[in-house]
Amino acid sequence: MSELKSWTQIPIGGYITEPQNSVKNKTGSWRTQRPVIDQDACTRCRICWLYCPEPAILELNKPYVTKSGRKYNLTFEINYDYCKGCGICANECPVKAIKMVPEVVQQ
């Protein structure tokens, strides 16, 4: 949470001058279930990335070799800082490589 500044310390008119500073809202804490990508099943089709409303799926230039020996230059990873656990990605993945698993409550 941001510091509560006085009226003399903030820009006039309620202007927000730092674009996309909403990254400070870690909406991942809302989640009750988390998507988990099976990197071996994933065909790198980009569909989950495209349909995530947040966006909370990272497209990384990270090479990956599947168990069956297939090489990929890209890896898709969930950004759990922002993922709200909606499950759209799992629902849209054409090869069902994403599973929604319940968030475990921290003991």
Binding site: I10, R31, Y51, E54, P55, N91
Partner: protein, 322 residues
């Protein structure tokens, strides 16, 4: 005026052509699975950074600008609920005047963004004024078919029979009595250069339409009607937002089409749907949605007749302007 319009570039052919840059979010406070949030993400990807967004009061506005945080990566202004088109008109006029007088050298295009409430209902007058005056503004209606920000009240864009908190399902009246307003016909009646429907389920189509629309702004206004389901408002599972949007197109409830410089065109997959047998059964769309859970056989039939009626109208448009 037609020169520029004849040479529209289709920028995005495959999913890999979609820009990586993000100009909206993350960290906006929309519900999980929010359709409008996804729509904004797609629209800004297509538009790029040189735009000014004018947002009407509604879900997107309240969830994306909670002080001192903003989800917007482009210049943004919210003024009120009913006036996005008027504010956008003012900005467009200012840019024209300042550029002409050598005071500024701004290239930014203006995008007005409003919900169904802010467009079909309270914002209709300002929208019509903007279209009539011919401001070079892209007006995007994100349609979640009710006033969601204030807790799911019916709007002129809510479909017939749908449950909302102001069209409840009672023993005497069962859901919304009136039909959804045909906003596209109203907009097209202003004879603007470009107007189209689009859906979050068809992002490539949507993004190309955003670009076509922005290209048309030197000739006048453009309008996009973007279908964007809302899980809490429609009583659907958070994961079904895109699926339901796709079903709306596949069942013919929300056809994809363009009004492009006086020509009417159905876009895939809706271009196959003149033939009713190519449409999926309406029930596939209605069944998963809690807002339609109360529908009886005859109400579903009535709804189907409405969809057929609209297709009949579109078919005639196609004949006249195709």
């Amino acid at each position: 005026m037609g020169m520029a319009s004849g040479q529209i570039k289709i920028g995005i052919r495959t999913i890999w052509d979609i820009p990586k840059e993000e100009y909206f979010g993350p960290g906006q406070l929309t519900c999980a699975g929010c359709g409008p949030s996804l729509a904004v993400r797609h629209i800004l990807k297509a538009a790029g950074p040189d735009v000014i967004v004018v947002n009407a009061t509604g879900c997107i506005e309240v969830t994306s600008t909670q002080y001192p945080y903003t989800a917007w990566g482009v210049p943004y202004i919210h003024v009120a609920f009913e006036n996005a088109a008027a504010v956008a008109s003012g900005i467009e006029a200012a840019i024209k005047a300042l550029n002409r007088k050598g005071i500024a050298n701004a290239k930014a295009k203006v995008i007005a963004l409003a919900g169904d409430g802010g467009t079909y209902d309270i914002g209709m007058q300002a929208l019509s004024g903007m279209l009539e005056r011919g401001h070079g503004v892209l007006y995007v209606l994100y349609d979640n078919e009710a006033y969601m920000n204030t807790g799911i009240q019916r709007s002129g864009g809510t479909p017939r029979f749908a449950w909302t908190t102001t069209s409840p399902v009672g023993s005497r009246i069962r859901g919304k009595v009136q039909s959804k307003k045909d906003i596209m016909s109203i907009v097209i009646a202003h004879h603007i250069p470009y107007a189209a429907t689009a859906s979050i389920a068809y992002p490539i189509d949507l993004m190309n339409k955003v670009r076509k629309a922005l290209d048309a702004l030197n000739e006048g206004p453009a309008f996009l009607h973007v279908f964007a389901p809302c899980p809490p408002g429609w009583r659907i599972d958070d994961s079904k937002t895109v699926e339901i949007a796709r079903l709306a197109v596949e069942t013919g409830v929300f056809p994809l089409f363009e009004w492009d410089h006086g020509k009417f065109r159905l876009n895939p997959p809706s271009n196959m749907h003149v033939d009713k047998s190519k449409r999926k059964p309406l029930i596939n769309y209605l069944k998963p949605q809690g807002r339609f859970a109360h529908l009886k056989e005859e109400e579903i039939k009535a709804m189907e007749a409405e969809v057929d009626g609209y297709w009949d109208y579109l078919t005639r448009l196609l004949k006249a302007f195709g």
